[in-house]
């Protein structure tokens, strides 16, 4: 927030009422997810099959990770446009690291560890870059991440030469994709674990508290001695590391480092975050809202695929239902 915005005159009570967030988590969206799901299940019995339930969970777990990454930044009144290309870059980078080590004599665990580390470091680097330019130079997050969007895209395509990178050890796939635990696929288990950690971090740490305060009123937080630069920096790093994790799970799912895997993830993750109930005006959103938004979008598109709504009609239905869902949510929030 620039000084100019900080000195905006005080909001009237009416404005406050609008801004104070009646958490939509308890409201209509969960009901929307359930209604959608039941509707699809009635239309086609295969929606309820255990294979499809696992399928939904698995698809949700990817989007959930990215949506959480986006939510963290949005809570601090930012926006991460570079999320998608970062995912591409991490996918290629970690795959390359493993492929290169794989040609030597290193054991599988070492290779996988190196790959994971490479991915996490690449992600963290993007986070440090975004975080320091946003936190210290105070450039609008949109522009900063538009810049790193381009940079990461360039690096991803240059590193890979445009070709998918292969040659990862089997252990990598087991760990992040094919393995199961309690009957749940690895990505789902990881997503649940990470979701719980992020929930804890946002609710119970100084970092999380500070992030919400910064998102709500950065100037007030600064005056009250909250270390805003440090927290913003950490938020971008955490966000990018989550993105990197999601990207590596996707890499394990595809079996190759893909320079175009990030594609539309930036926008999709933002959509999931906002549909779930985070707001670009900052200070609201949580792991729960990210989950809700991801689930809503995945159930919708999975259902449409299964009941065989054709390609471009799906786009129209998706657009209308997302807007309608959010609208109903706001109406309920207003009335109570």
């Amino acid at each position: 927030m620039t000084d100019r915005e900080a000195s905006m005159s005080a909001p009237s009570p009416a404005a406050l009422a609008g801004r104070i967030h009646v958490s939509p988590v308890q409201l209509i969206l969960p009901a929307g997810v359930v209604i959608l799901f039941t509707g699809f299940a009635l239309a086609d019995h295969r929606v309820m099959s255990s294979a499809n339930l696992i399928n939904i969970l698995q698809q949700t777990s990817f989007l959930f990770l990215f949506a959480m990454a986006q939510t963290i930044v949005i809570i601090g009144r930012g926006f991460d446009l570079s999320l998608g290309p970062t995912a591409s870059m991490v996918s290629v980078g970690s795959a390359l690291a493993m492929a290169v080590l794989g040609t030597g004599h290193a054991g599988e665990p070492v290779i996988v560890l190196a790959g994971l580390a490479a991915g996490a470091v690449l992600g963290a680097l993007v986070g440090v870059f975004n975080g320091s330019v946003v936190g210290f130079l105070r450039v609008t997050p949109f522009v900063v991440t538009l810049g790193s969007f381009n940079i990461a895209t360039g690096i991803a395509t240059t590193l890979s030469g445009g070709h998918p990178v292969q040659g990862m050890p089997e252990l990598f796939f087991q760990l992040l994709s094919t393995g199961t635990m309690l009957g749940l696929p690895a990505p789902v288990v990881i997503a649940i674990a990470v979701g719980l950690v992020i929930h804890f971090v946002l609710r119970r740490t100084v970092f999380g508290r500070g992030l919400y305060l910064i998102g709500t009123n950065a100037r007030a937080a600064e005056v009250a001695g909250v270390p805003i630069r440090l927290i913003l920096m950490s938020a971008y790093i955490l966000s990018s590391v989550l993105t990197a994790l999601g990207a590596m799970i996707l890499t394990a799912r595809t079996g190759s480092g893909e320079p175009s895997i990030g594609g539309t993830l930036s926008l999709q993750s933002a959509a999931a975050a906002i549909v779930g109930g985070a707001s670009f005006s900052g200070g609201s959103g949580s792991a729960g809202t990210a989950l809700l938004g991801s689930l809503f979008i995945i159930v919708l598109s999975n259902g449409m695929n299964l009941v065989q709504i054709s390609g471009y009609v799906q786009m129209i239905v998706l657009g209308v239902i997302v807007v309608a869902g959010v609208l109903l949510d706001r109406l309920r929030a207003q009335r109570s």
């Binding site: 330019v133 130079l137 949109f142 522009v143 969007f149 940079i151 959010v326």
Partner: protein, 341 residues
């Protein structure tokens, strides 16, 4: 203190302050732009060739027109993700209408073109209206509303033609408008300049302009001051839709066919980038159209320059990213210096 005294005081501190204020009003962008242009002229004589300048101007104009609409919505405190989709749909609607009109009224090019242009502009206005109503009346956040309408609009555009280009435009539409040069300058530049002049006038001398700034700055204050904010918010989205449709028409006339590929994320991202680099605040209330035009030119020249300098096209994004951040960061630092003059 009398008025004269006030005048005297301000003029006595005058000269120095006027200079610093002039620089602060103008910003870093024109400086960078000048450096870029001069540098390119020295390094590569082809840069200033007629054909190259025409290309740059044309690309910049097309980008500037969508960015103007985007800027207007941003100034009013909104967000328009649907511009790319509108460009695509308008292009297809124009082409489909002209193809149909071409069979219904053969040889009457003026009528055919008028129908096509009307249909395309109508499409833009309609989508803008839907966006505006969602945001202003139903109070859905601009991001979600236009994300939804983007999906719907693009879906319709693809259903109409399955993304297959639509041909059969009257030749005169292409040769005398799309690819035409009037007094050495591409037609698109005239359209962009006309729109810029109109918007600058709207911003300075009409209530519409003033109210959009007020709404973006503090919508509660605008309401309390007796402004019917809904009407003006809707107007912003409608104008943005209209300008996106104009862009669609220009591209259609340039390429000679209606294409769904005009839309998509690229156009949307670029329009926001051009607006924001031109100093439009994503939080509303701040921005000048002249600067948006400059920033569109800047972005166009940048990618043209990288191509002329034969930079590997896979590395180009890295350059663009770094330059973008530097430009805006420098501007931010300058602004912080001058805020408390």
């Amino acid at each position: 203190m009398t008025v004269e005294e006030a005048d005297m005081r301000s003029s006595s501190r005058g000269d120095l302050r006027a200079l610093s204020r002039w620089i602060s009003a103008i910003g870093i962008l024109p400086v960078l732009l000048t450096v870029l242009i001069l540098g390119m002229c020295i390094i590569d004589p082809r840069f200033s060739g007629v054909a190259n300048v025409t290309n740059i101007l044309r690309n910049a104009s097309v980008l500037a027109i969508v960015a103007f609409g985007q800027a207007l919505v941003l100034i009013a405190g909104g967000f328009d993700l649907s511009v790319g989709a509108i460009v695509a749909l308008a292009s297809e609607i124009a082409a489909v209408t002209m193809r149909w009109a071409g069979t219904a009224f053969p040889e009457q090019d003026a009528l055919i073109i008028a129908l096509g242009v009307g249909a395309a502009l109508g499409t833009g206005i309609l989508v803008g209206l839907v966006n505006g109503i969602c945001v202003a009346v139903l109070r859905i956040s601009g991001f979600i509303a236009t994300l939804g309408s983007m999906s719907v609009t693009l879906g319709i555009a693809l259903i109409i033609t399955n993304g297959i280009p639509v041909y059969g435009l009257p030749q005169s539409f292409i040769t005398q408008f799309g690819r035409a040069r009037w007094f050495e300058f591409p037609s698109a530049a005239y359209v962009a300049i006309a729109i810029l002049l109109v918007l600058a006038f709207v911003q300075r001398r009409t209530v519409l302009g003033r109210y959009l700034y007020a709404i973006g700055g503090n919508s509660e204050a605008a309401i309390v001051s007796g402004i019917s904010t809904r009407r003006y918010q809707i107007a912003a989205y409608v104008i943005s839709g209209l300008l996106a449709a104009v862009t669609g028409l220009l591209l259609t006339a340039l390429v000679g066919s209606g294409q769904a590929s005009f839309g998509g994320d690229l156009m949307m991202l670029q329009s926001i980038a051009a607006a924001v680099i031109g100093g439009v605040s994503l939080h509303g209330g701040v921005g000048r159209f002249g600067m948006v035009a400059l920033s569109a030119i800047f972005l166009s020249i940048l990618s043209n320059a990288l191509n002329l300098l034969r930079v590997d096209s896979r590395i180009q994004p890295i350059f663009i990213g770094v330059i973008l951040i530097c430009a805006v960061a420098l501007d931010e630092i300058r602004r912080r210096r001058t805020v408390h003059d």
